[in-house]
Symmetry: C2
Subunit: 241 residues, 2 copies
Protein backbone atom coordinates (compact mmCIF):
# COMPACT_ATOMS: atom_id res chain seq x y z
CA UNK A 1 0.00 0.00 0.00
CA UNK A 2 1.33 3.40 -0.94
CA UNK A 3 1.37 6.51 1.17
CA UNK A 4 -1.07 9.06 -0.02
CA UNK A 5 0.73 11.51 -2.27
CA UNK A 6 1.89 14.72 -0.70
CA UNK A 7 0.98 17.86 -2.57
CA UNK A 8 1.57 21.61 -2.47
CA UNK A 9 -0.35 24.40 -4.14
CA UNK A 10 1.48 27.58 -5.04
CA UNK A 11 4.34 26.92 -2.69
CA UNK A 12 6.96 29.52 -1.96
CA UNK A 13 10.34 28.79 -3.49
CA UNK A 14 11.71 27.61 -0.18
CA UNK A 15 8.69 25.44 0.52
CA UNK A 16 9.07 23.94 -2.91
CA UNK A 17 12.74 23.27 -2.48
CA UNK A 18 12.16 21.45 0.78
CA UNK A 19 9.23 19.55 -0.67
CA UNK A 20 11.12 18.35 -3.73
CA UNK A 21 14.27 17.62 -1.79
CA UNK A 22 12.49 15.42 0.73
CA UNK A 23 10.51 13.76 -2.04
CA UNK A 24 13.69 12.80 -3.86
CA UNK A 25 15.21 11.59 -0.60
CA UNK A 26 12.17 9.38 0.06
CA UNK A 27 12.59 7.96 -3.45
CA UNK A 28 9.21 9.30 -4.47
CA UNK A 29 8.20 10.25 -7.97
CA UNK A 30 8.01 14.06 -8.02
CA UNK A 31 5.74 15.92 -10.44
CA UNK A 32 5.86 19.69 -10.81
CA UNK A 33 3.41 21.88 -12.71
CA UNK A 34 4.59 25.37 -13.51
CA UNK A 35 6.16 27.87 -15.85
CA UNK A 36 9.81 27.14 -16.54
CA UNK A 37 12.75 27.51 -18.88
CA UNK A 38 14.89 24.51 -19.78
CA UNK A 39 18.51 24.24 -20.84
CA UNK A 40 20.28 21.08 -21.90
CA UNK A 41 23.84 20.33 -22.82
CA UNK A 42 25.36 16.97 -23.58
CA UNK A 43 25.22 14.80 -26.70
CA UNK A 44 23.58 17.85 -28.24
CA UNK A 45 22.49 21.18 -26.73
CA UNK A 46 19.15 22.92 -26.47
CA UNK A 47 17.36 25.85 -24.96
CA UNK A 48 13.66 26.23 -24.36
CA UNK A 49 12.01 29.54 -23.41
CA UNK A 50 9.35 29.96 -20.74
CA UNK A 51 6.17 27.90 -20.87
CA UNK A 52 3.76 25.99 -18.65
CA UNK A 53 4.91 22.40 -18.34
CA UNK A 54 4.85 19.20 -16.36
CA UNK A 55 8.21 18.15 -14.98
CA UNK A 56 8.63 14.62 -13.59
CA UNK A 57 11.57 13.40 -11.56
CA UNK A 58 11.76 9.65 -10.96
CA UNK A 59 13.70 7.93 -8.19
CA UNK A 60 15.77 6.02 -10.79
CA UNK A 61 17.24 9.29 -12.01
CA UNK A 62 14.92 9.91 -14.94
CA UNK A 63 13.79 13.46 -15.67
CA UNK A 64 10.96 14.39 -18.04
CA UNK A 65 9.72 17.77 -19.24
CA UNK A 66 6.33 17.51 -20.92
CA UNK A 67 4.45 20.24 -22.76
CA UNK A 68 0.76 19.91 -23.60
CA UNK A 69 1.65 18.35 -26.94
CA UNK A 70 3.38 15.25 -28.17
CA UNK A 71 4.09 11.85 -26.78
CA UNK A 72 7.76 12.60 -26.34
CA UNK A 73 9.05 14.92 -23.62
CA UNK A 74 10.43 18.17 -25.00
CA UNK A 75 13.46 17.67 -22.77
CA UNK A 76 14.55 14.79 -20.63
CA UNK A 77 17.32 12.98 -18.86
CA UNK A 78 17.68 9.19 -18.95
CA UNK A 79 17.70 6.91 -15.88
CA UNK A 80 20.87 7.01 -13.84
CA UNK A 81 21.07 10.75 -13.44
CA UNK A 82 21.50 12.59 -10.17
CA UNK A 83 18.74 15.05 -9.43
CA UNK A 84 19.41 18.21 -7.50
CA UNK A 85 17.10 20.98 -6.36
CA UNK A 86 18.11 24.48 -5.31
CA UNK A 87 16.88 28.04 -5.11
CA UNK A 88 18.67 30.60 -7.23
CA UNK A 89 17.69 34.27 -7.32
CA UNK A 90 14.52 33.36 -5.49
CA UNK A 91 13.53 30.75 -8.08
CA UNK A 92 13.34 26.98 -7.92
CA UNK A 93 15.99 25.32 -10.09
CA UNK A 94 16.28 21.62 -10.87
CA UNK A 95 19.49 20.08 -12.14
CA UNK A 96 19.77 16.56 -13.46
CA UNK A 97 23.21 15.37 -14.39
CA UNK A 98 25.13 12.33 -15.51
CA UNK A 99 28.59 11.42 -16.75
CA UNK A 100 29.45 9.11 -19.69
CA UNK A 101 28.35 10.96 -21.51
CA UNK A 102 28.48 14.18 -19.56
CA UNK A 103 25.01 15.64 -19.75
CA UNK A 104 23.21 18.32 -17.79
CA UNK A 105 19.59 19.36 -17.75
CA UNK A 106 18.58 22.55 -15.95
CA UNK A 107 14.96 23.52 -15.31
CA UNK A 108 14.36 27.02 -13.98
CA UNK A 109 10.89 27.75 -12.66
CA UNK A 110 9.57 31.25 -12.76
CA UNK A 111 6.30 30.05 -11.29
CA UNK A 112 5.43 26.81 -9.57
CA UNK A 113 1.71 26.11 -9.51
CA UNK A 114 1.50 22.64 -8.04
CA UNK A 115 3.77 19.93 -6.74
CA UNK A 116 3.15 16.23 -6.10
CA UNK A 117 5.37 13.64 -4.46
CA UNK A 118 4.06 10.16 -5.16
CA UNK A 119 5.45 7.23 -3.27
CA UNK A 120 3.94 4.18 -4.86
CA UNK A 121 4.73 0.54 -5.34
CA UNK A 122 4.65 -1.23 -8.68
CA UNK A 123 5.78 -4.83 -8.84
CA UNK A 124 3.94 -5.92 -11.95
CA UNK A 125 5.69 -6.36 -15.27
CA UNK A 126 4.21 -5.67 -18.66
CA UNK A 127 3.10 -8.73 -20.64
CA UNK A 128 3.44 -7.94 -24.32
CA UNK A 129 2.51 -10.00 -27.37
CA UNK A 130 2.92 -9.35 -31.06
CA UNK A 131 6.68 -8.90 -30.86
CA UNK A 132 9.44 -10.20 -33.09
CA UNK A 133 10.02 -12.98 -30.57
CA UNK A 134 6.44 -14.17 -31.05
CA UNK A 135 7.12 -14.34 -34.77
CA UNK A 136 10.23 -16.42 -34.09
CA UNK A 137 8.33 -18.84 -31.84
CA UNK A 138 5.65 -19.16 -34.43
CA UNK A 139 8.15 -20.20 -37.09
CA UNK A 140 10.06 -22.57 -34.82
CA UNK A 141 6.78 -24.29 -33.96
CA UNK A 142 5.83 -24.59 -37.62
CA UNK A 143 8.89 -24.19 -39.88
CA UNK A 144 6.87 -24.95 -43.02
CA UNK A 145 5.47 -21.42 -42.68
CA UNK A 146 8.74 -20.39 -44.31
CA UNK A 147 8.50 -23.10 -46.94
CA UNK A 148 7.97 -26.87 -47.11
CA UNK A 149 11.08 -28.63 -45.93
CA UNK A 150 12.62 -25.72 -44.09
CA UNK A 151 14.56 -26.79 -41.01
CA UNK A 152 15.69 -24.29 -38.39
CA UNK A 153 19.17 -25.10 -37.09
CA UNK A 154 19.90 -22.17 -34.78
CA UNK A 155 18.58 -18.86 -33.53
CA UNK A 156 20.79 -15.86 -32.94
CA UNK A 157 23.56 -17.64 -34.83
CA UNK A 158 26.66 -15.49 -34.77
CA UNK A 159 28.32 -14.25 -37.95
CA UNK A 160 31.03 -11.67 -38.58
CA UNK A 161 28.15 -9.31 -39.42
CA UNK A 162 26.16 -9.98 -36.28
CA UNK A 163 23.60 -12.46 -35.00
CA UNK A 164 21.17 -14.00 -37.47
CA UNK A 165 17.54 -14.30 -36.31
CA UNK A 166 17.05 -17.86 -37.61
CA UNK A 167 19.63 -19.95 -39.42
CA UNK A 168 18.54 -23.15 -41.12
CA UNK A 169 18.50 -25.35 -44.19
CA UNK A 170 16.04 -25.82 -47.03
CA UNK A 171 14.79 -29.12 -48.48
CA UNK A 172 17.92 -29.37 -50.67
CA UNK A 173 20.18 -28.75 -47.70
CA UNK A 174 21.19 -25.24 -48.73
CA UNK A 175 21.88 -22.73 -45.97
CA UNK A 176 19.07 -20.24 -45.27
CA UNK A 177 19.31 -16.99 -43.34
CA UNK A 178 15.98 -15.73 -42.02
CA UNK A 179 15.54 -12.13 -40.89
CA UNK A 180 12.40 -11.39 -38.87
CA UNK A 181 10.46 -8.15 -38.56
CA UNK A 182 7.26 -7.72 -36.58
CA UNK A 183 5.97 -5.02 -38.93
CA UNK A 184 6.08 -3.84 -42.52
CA UNK A 185 9.67 -3.46 -43.62
CA UNK A 186 11.58 -0.91 -45.64
CA UNK A 187 15.01 -0.87 -47.28
CA UNK A 188 16.89 -0.94 -43.98
CA UNK A 189 15.82 -4.52 -43.26
CA UNK A 190 17.06 -5.59 -46.69
CA UNK A 191 20.42 -4.06 -45.88
CA UNK A 192 20.54 -6.07 -42.67
CA UNK A 193 19.69 -9.34 -44.40
CA UNK A 194 22.25 -8.57 -47.10
CA UNK A 195 25.01 -8.18 -44.54
CA UNK A 196 24.20 -11.52 -42.92
CA UNK A 197 24.02 -13.39 -46.23
CA UNK A 198 27.30 -11.89 -47.45
CA UNK A 199 29.01 -12.69 -44.18
CA UNK A 200 27.85 -16.30 -44.17
CA UNK A 201 28.76 -16.87 -47.80
CA UNK A 202 32.24 -15.75 -46.87
CA UNK A 203 32.24 -17.72 -43.63
CA UNK A 204 31.02 -21.06 -44.99
CA UNK A 205 32.81 -22.81 -47.81
CA UNK A 206 33.51 -20.37 -50.57
CA UNK A 207 31.01 -20.66 -53.35
CA UNK A 208 28.35 -22.33 -51.20
CA UNK A 209 25.14 -20.51 -51.90
CA UNK A 210 23.33 -18.95 -48.96
CA UNK A 211 19.68 -18.02 -49.34
CA UNK A 212 18.33 -14.96 -47.58
CA UNK A 213 14.68 -14.78 -46.53
CA UNK A 214 12.98 -11.73 -45.08
CA UNK A 215 9.91 -12.54 -42.99
CA UNK A 216 7.49 -9.73 -42.17
CA UNK A 217 3.82 -8.87 -42.50
CA UNK A 218 4.52 -6.86 -45.64
CA UNK A 219 7.18 -4.95 -47.53
CA UNK A 220 7.44 -1.56 -49.23
CA UNK A 221 7.93 -1.25 -52.98
CA UNK A 222 11.47 -0.05 -52.68
CA UNK A 223 12.39 -2.84 -50.29
CA UNK A 224 10.82 -5.39 -52.62
CA UNK A 225 12.88 -4.04 -55.50
CA UNK A 226 16.03 -4.21 -53.41
CA UNK A 227 15.29 -7.81 -52.47
CA UNK A 228 14.91 -8.72 -56.14
CA UNK A 229 18.13 -6.93 -57.13
CA UNK A 230 20.03 -8.85 -54.50
CA UNK A 231 18.46 -12.24 -55.08
CA UNK A 232 16.74 -12.31 -51.69
CA UNK A 233 13.30 -13.63 -50.87
CA UNK A 234 10.27 -12.46 -48.96
CA UNK A 235 7.75 -14.46 -46.95
CA UNK A 236 4.69 -12.61 -45.66
CA UNK A 237 3.88 -13.56 -42.09
CA UNK A 238 2.37 -11.86 -39.04
CA UNK A 239 3.88 -12.17 -35.55
CA UNK A 240 0.62 -13.64 -34.32
CA UNK A 241 -1.67 -15.97 -36.18
Amino acid sequence: MSDRPRTRDDPTTEEARTFVSSGLEREAMVALFGRCRVDYEGRAASTLGPGDRLVVLKPDGTALVHTDEGQQPVNWQPPGCTHDVATEDGALVLRSERSTPRELLVVRFERLDHAVAYDGTDTNDLALTGTEDDLRQRILAEPSLIEPGFEPRATERDTPAGAVDIFGADAEGAAVVVELKRRRVGPDAVGQLTRYVDALERDLHAGREVRGVLVAPSVTDRARRLLAERGLEFVPLEPTG
Copy 2:
Protein backbone atom coordinates in the same frame (compact mmCIF):
# COMPACT_ATOMS: atom_id res chain seq x y z
CA MET B 1 -1.14 33.49 -17.89
CA SER B 2 -2.48 30.10 -17.03
CA ASP B 3 -5.31 29.26 -14.70
CA ARG B 4 -4.12 27.70 -11.50
CA PRO B 5 -4.31 23.94 -11.80
CA ARG B 6 -7.35 22.29 -10.33
CA THR B 7 -6.68 19.34 -8.09
CA ARG B 8 -8.53 16.63 -6.18
CA ASP B 9 -7.32 14.43 -3.34
CA ASP B 10 -8.85 10.99 -2.95
CA PRO B 11 -11.88 11.80 -5.04
CA THR B 12 -14.84 9.47 -5.23
CA THR B 13 -15.19 7.71 -8.55
CA GLU B 14 -17.96 10.04 -9.63
CA GLU B 15 -16.03 13.14 -8.55
CA ALA B 16 -13.06 11.87 -10.48
CA ARG B 17 -15.09 11.16 -13.60
CA THR B 18 -16.54 14.66 -13.60
CA PHE B 19 -13.15 16.19 -12.87
CA VAL B 20 -11.36 14.35 -15.69
CA SER B 21 -14.22 14.87 -18.11
CA SER B 22 -14.33 18.61 -17.61
CA GLY B 23 -10.56 18.79 -17.72
CA LEU B 24 -10.47 17.07 -21.11
CA GLU B 25 -13.25 19.34 -22.32
CA ARG B 26 -11.29 22.41 -21.26
CA GLU B 27 -8.30 21.02 -23.20
CA ALA B 28 -6.28 20.79 -20.04
CA MET B 29 -3.48 18.35 -19.42
CA VAL B 30 -4.82 15.82 -16.92
CA ALA B 31 -2.52 13.92 -14.55
CA LEU B 32 -3.78 11.09 -12.36
CA PHE B 33 -1.90 9.35 -9.56
CA GLY B 34 -3.27 6.02 -8.45
CA ARG B 35 -3.30 2.26 -8.56
CA CYS B 36 -4.44 0.92 -11.91
CA ARG B 37 -4.37 -1.92 -14.37
CA VAL B 38 -3.66 -1.27 -18.05
CA ASP B 39 -4.67 -3.12 -21.20
CA TYR B 40 -3.58 -2.29 -24.70
CA GLU B 41 -4.48 -3.74 -28.06
CA GLY B 42 -3.41 -2.49 -31.45
CA ARG B 43 -0.13 -2.89 -33.32
CA ALA B 44 0.71 -5.27 -30.51
CA ALA B 45 -1.16 -6.21 -27.34
CA SER B 46 -0.29 -5.98 -23.66
CA THR B 47 -1.62 -6.35 -20.17
CA LEU B 48 -0.26 -4.82 -17.01
CA GLY B 49 -1.39 -5.83 -13.53
CA PRO B 50 -2.13 -3.43 -10.70
CA GLY B 51 0.45 -0.89 -9.61
CA ASP B 52 0.81 2.72 -8.52
CA ARG B 53 1.36 4.91 -11.55
CA LEU B 54 1.14 8.34 -13.08
CA VAL B 55 -1.27 8.62 -15.99
CA VAL B 56 -1.15 11.72 -18.21
CA LEU B 57 -3.78 12.69 -20.77
CA LYS B 58 -2.86 15.52 -23.11
CA PRO B 59 -5.30 17.66 -25.07
CA ASP B 60 -3.71 16.54 -28.35
CA GLY B 61 -4.83 12.98 -27.69
CA THR B 62 -1.64 11.65 -26.15
CA ALA B 63 -1.88 9.21 -23.25
CA LEU B 64 1.05 8.19 -21.04
CA VAL B 65 1.29 5.65 -18.24
CA HIS B 66 4.46 6.08 -16.20
CA THR B 67 5.77 3.82 -13.47
CA ASP B 68 8.48 4.95 -11.06
CA GLU B 69 11.13 3.58 -13.40
CA GLY B 70 12.36 4.28 -16.89
CA GLN B 71 12.27 7.17 -19.25
CA GLN B 72 9.71 5.50 -21.46
CA PRO B 73 6.07 5.10 -20.42
CA VAL B 74 5.10 1.50 -19.71
CA ASN B 75 2.00 2.04 -21.84
CA TRP B 76 0.95 4.91 -24.05
CA GLN B 77 -1.14 6.16 -26.89
CA PRO B 78 0.21 8.57 -29.53
CA PRO B 79 -1.24 12.01 -30.31
CA GLY B 80 -4.51 12.00 -32.24
CA CYS B 81 -6.37 9.65 -29.97
CA THR B 82 -9.77 10.29 -28.45
CA HIS B 83 -9.83 10.14 -24.68
CA ASP B 84 -12.87 8.92 -22.82
CA VAL B 85 -13.58 8.63 -19.12
CA ALA B 86 -16.26 6.52 -17.48
CA THR B 87 -17.14 4.69 -14.30
CA GLU B 88 -17.49 0.93 -14.48
CA ASP B 89 -18.36 -1.23 -11.49
CA GLY B 90 -17.68 1.76 -9.29
CA ALA B 91 -14.20 2.32 -10.68
CA LEU B 92 -12.73 5.03 -12.86
CA VAL B 93 -11.86 3.80 -16.35
CA LEU B 94 -9.99 5.71 -19.05
CA ARG B 95 -10.14 4.73 -22.69
CA SER B 96 -7.92 6.21 -25.37
CA GLU B 97 -8.59 5.11 -28.90
CA ARG B 98 -7.57 5.75 -32.48
CA SER B 99 -8.12 4.28 -35.92
CA THR B 100 -5.44 3.70 -38.62
CA PRO B 101 -4.23 1.71 -37.01
CA ARG B 102 -7.03 0.68 -34.71
CA GLU B 103 -5.60 0.93 -31.21
CA LEU B 104 -7.17 0.99 -27.79
CA LEU B 105 -5.69 1.71 -24.39
CA VAL B 106 -7.76 1.02 -21.26
CA VAL B 107 -6.70 2.17 -17.79
CA ARG B 108 -8.75 0.85 -14.87
CA PHE B 109 -8.17 2.52 -11.52
CA GLU B 110 -8.75 0.58 -8.37
CA ARG B 111 -7.67 3.56 -6.35
CA LEU B 112 -7.23 7.19 -7.37
CA ASP B 113 -5.03 9.15 -4.99
CA HIS B 114 -4.67 12.49 -6.68
CA ALA B 115 -5.82 14.27 -9.81
CA VAL B 116 -4.52 17.43 -11.51
CA ALA B 117 -5.95 19.35 -14.45
CA TYR B 118 -3.37 21.77 -15.77
CA ASP B 119 -4.40 24.41 -18.24
CA GLY B 120 -1.22 26.08 -19.32
CA THR B 121 0.14 27.92 -22.31
CA ASP B 122 3.39 27.07 -24.05
CA THR B 123 4.29 28.98 -27.19
CA ASN B 124 8.04 28.48 -27.12
CA ASP B 125 9.78 26.04 -29.43
CA LEU B 126 12.86 24.06 -28.58
CA ALA B 127 16.11 25.32 -30.08
CA LEU B 128 18.42 22.38 -30.64
CA THR B 129 22.01 22.28 -31.88
CA GLY B 130 24.34 19.43 -32.60
CA THR B 131 22.03 17.79 -35.12
CA GLU B 132 22.75 16.21 -38.48
CA ASP B 133 21.59 19.43 -40.09
CA ASP B 134 24.32 21.32 -38.24
CA LEU B 135 26.82 18.88 -39.66
CA ARG B 136 25.43 19.51 -43.15
CA GLN B 137 25.67 23.28 -42.76
CA ARG B 138 29.20 22.94 -41.51
CA ILE B 139 30.25 21.01 -44.61
CA LEU B 140 28.42 23.30 -47.03
CA ALA B 141 30.18 26.27 -45.46
CA GLU B 142 33.57 24.57 -45.74
CA PRO B 143 33.47 21.71 -48.28
CA SER B 144 37.20 21.05 -47.92
CA LEU B 145 36.34 19.40 -44.59
CA ILE B 146 35.42 16.42 -46.75
CA GLU B 147 38.57 16.73 -48.84
CA PRO B 148 40.41 19.38 -50.83
CA GLY B 149 38.54 20.11 -54.03
CA PHE B 150 35.21 18.66 -52.94
CA GLU B 151 32.28 20.57 -54.42
CA PRO B 152 28.74 20.07 -53.13
CA ARG B 153 26.20 20.08 -55.96
CA ALA B 154 22.97 19.23 -54.16
CA THR B 155 21.47 18.28 -50.83
CA GLU B 156 18.70 15.74 -50.49
CA ARG B 157 19.29 14.69 -54.10
CA ASP B 158 16.75 12.08 -55.03
CA THR B 159 17.80 8.62 -56.19
CA PRO B 160 15.83 5.42 -56.72
CA ALA B 161 17.11 4.39 -53.29
CA GLY B 162 16.08 7.59 -51.52
CA ALA B 163 17.43 11.07 -50.91
CA VAL B 164 21.20 11.53 -50.60
CA ASP B 165 22.38 13.86 -47.81
CA ILE B 166 24.98 15.65 -49.94
CA PHE B 167 25.74 14.94 -53.58
CA GLY B 168 28.84 16.49 -55.13
CA ALA B 169 31.99 16.09 -57.14
CA ASP B 170 35.64 15.58 -56.22
CA ALA B 171 38.65 17.41 -57.65
CA GLU B 172 38.71 15.01 -60.62
CA GLY B 173 35.03 15.56 -61.30
CA ALA B 174 33.92 12.14 -60.08
CA ALA B 175 30.52 11.88 -58.41
CA VAL B 176 30.55 11.72 -54.60
CA VAL B 177 27.73 10.61 -52.33
CA VAL B 178 28.04 11.88 -48.76
CA GLU B 179 26.05 10.30 -45.93
CA LEU B 180 25.95 12.28 -42.67
CA LYS B 181 25.52 11.03 -39.13
CA ARG B 182 25.59 13.21 -36.03
CA ARG B 183 27.00 10.42 -33.89
CA ARG B 184 29.19 7.33 -34.01
CA VAL B 185 27.92 4.99 -36.70
CA GLY B 186 27.43 1.27 -36.98
CA PRO B 187 26.79 -1.13 -39.85
CA ASP B 188 23.33 0.28 -40.61
CA ALA B 189 24.75 3.55 -41.89
CA VAL B 190 27.08 1.67 -44.23
CA GLY B 191 24.07 -0.16 -45.63
CA GLN B 192 22.38 3.15 -46.28
CA LEU B 193 25.40 4.62 -48.06
CA THR B 194 25.76 1.42 -50.07
CA ARG B 195 22.20 1.68 -51.34
CA TYR B 196 22.70 5.27 -52.46
CA VAL B 197 25.99 4.56 -54.23
CA ASP B 198 24.58 1.51 -56.01
CA ALA B 199 21.49 3.43 -57.09
CA LEU B 200 23.50 6.33 -58.46
CA GLU B 201 25.94 4.10 -60.30
CA ARG B 202 22.94 2.58 -62.01
CA ASP B 203 21.27 5.94 -62.53
CA LEU B 204 24.21 7.80 -64.00
CA HIS B 205 25.98 6.48 -67.07
CA ALA B 206 26.77 2.84 -66.61
CA GLY B 207 30.34 2.34 -65.54
CA ARG B 208 30.79 5.83 -64.14
CA GLU B 209 32.36 5.41 -60.77
CA VAL B 210 30.53 6.89 -57.79
CA ARG B 211 32.43 7.44 -54.55
CA GLY B 212 30.67 6.97 -51.24
CA VAL B 213 31.77 8.92 -48.17
CA LEU B 214 30.42 8.41 -44.67
CA VAL B 215 30.82 11.46 -42.42
CA ALA B 216 30.42 11.00 -38.66
CA PRO B 217 32.31 11.63 -35.43
CA SER B 218 33.53 8.04 -35.40
CA VAL B 219 32.75 4.53 -36.60
CA THR B 220 32.59 1.06 -35.04
CA ASP B 221 35.02 -1.69 -36.04
CA ARG B 222 32.39 -3.68 -37.85
CA ALA B 223 31.22 -0.66 -39.79
CA ARG B 224 34.79 0.23 -40.72
CA ARG B 225 35.35 -3.27 -42.05
CA LEU B 226 32.14 -3.08 -44.05
CA LEU B 227 33.21 0.25 -45.54
CA ALA B 228 36.53 -1.27 -46.62
CA GLU B 229 34.85 -4.35 -48.14
CA ARG B 230 32.60 -2.15 -50.20
CA GLY B 231 35.17 0.40 -51.25
CA LEU B 232 33.59 3.22 -49.29
CA GLU B 233 35.33 5.99 -47.36
CA PHE B 234 35.08 7.54 -43.93
CA VAL B 235 35.68 11.13 -42.87
CA PRO B 236 35.64 11.86 -39.14
CA LEU B 237 33.74 15.05 -38.35
CA GLU B 238 31.61 16.37 -35.50
CA PRO B 239 28.32 18.17 -36.03
CA THR B 240 29.70 21.22 -34.24
CA GLY B 241 33.17 22.50 -34.37
